[in-house]
């Protein structure tokens, strides 16, 4: 059998909320509740970026939070993917061009998947995480390639 190079483990997710109104966050929680129950696929929220494969970011990111978000991103092990949940993080949303906003998020850290909506439905968030999974498979293959 050939060598398996795809992402061979459950997907652990760290959620960083940067000035969100909480509605996006509550939809992420909804994805974990029995109705959607993403944990049955191994998608699990973890308490530290050191354990996470995916960084889920919500909110427009106030200026004071930008360096913290950068640090959280840097503390994740490779390969890693970033999913932005909600219009706030994607474009600034209703806070677009506000004086105290450092976002949109892709101006602070590299973003792999955008999940638009205000707030997006849990189905959309799950879809975004699955897209991140595909990206991680690609990155893992690249890392494996580098090692050989």
């Amino acid at each position: 059998m050939g060598k398996l190079t795809n992402f061979k483990r459950s997907l652990w997710v760290f959620h960083a909320s940067g000035g969100s109104c909480n509605a996006c966050d509550i939809e992420i929680i909804a994805a974990l509740t029995p109705r959607y129950d993403v944990e049955r696929f191994g998608i699990k929220l973890v308490g530290s970026p050191r354990h996470a494969d995916v960084l889920l970011v919500t909110g427009a990111i106030p200026r004071d939070f930008a360096d913290k978000l950068r640090r959280i991103y840097e503390q994740m092990a490779d390969p890693k993917a970033v999913v932005v949940v909600g219009n706030c993080g994607t474009s600034g949303g209703v806070f677009y061009d506000s004086y105290n906003i450092a976002g949109p998020i892709d101006e602070i850290i590299p973003v792999d998947v955008y999940v638009p909506g205000c707030p997006p439905r849990p189905e959309a968030i799950i879809d975004g995480v699955v897209k991140a999974w595909l990206k991680l498979e690609k990155l893992e293959k690249e890392l494996e390639g580098k090692k050989e």
């Binding site: 960083a16 530290s48 970026p49 050191r50 939070f65 913290k68 978000l69 640090r71 959280i72 840097e74 503390q75 994740m76 092990a77 490779d78 390969p79 890392l143 090692k147």
Partner: protein
Amino acid sequence: MTWIESLTLNSPSGFWNPIVWLALLIVFAVIGYVIYSRGNRSYKPNTDQVKPFLSGNEVEDVEEIRVRAGDIYWGFIEALKGYYNVLMRMHSGDLRDYILWYLGLGAIILFILVGGV
């Protein structure tokens, strides 16, 4: 008595043998190496990636957030500041300085005792 028995120290509660100890050390070193070799090699040293996670906050220097043992003597050192400032400047932590002091003072004492003034 075999040579391995001659190295064994028996006591009522057990025995001690350096060869057995060495063998155990090697076994644990191999286990340690196997665990180490399975670690993630893609980590980046000298970045935030190797620092503890503190909700995204910068990890402060422990000296700034802990009470140090030296702080217990704070009042004492503060009261005798003049004396300690001189003493602390001399206390460089460099062994060569201390040997120089030792030789210098030794020479002076020898001069006084033997040479006589």
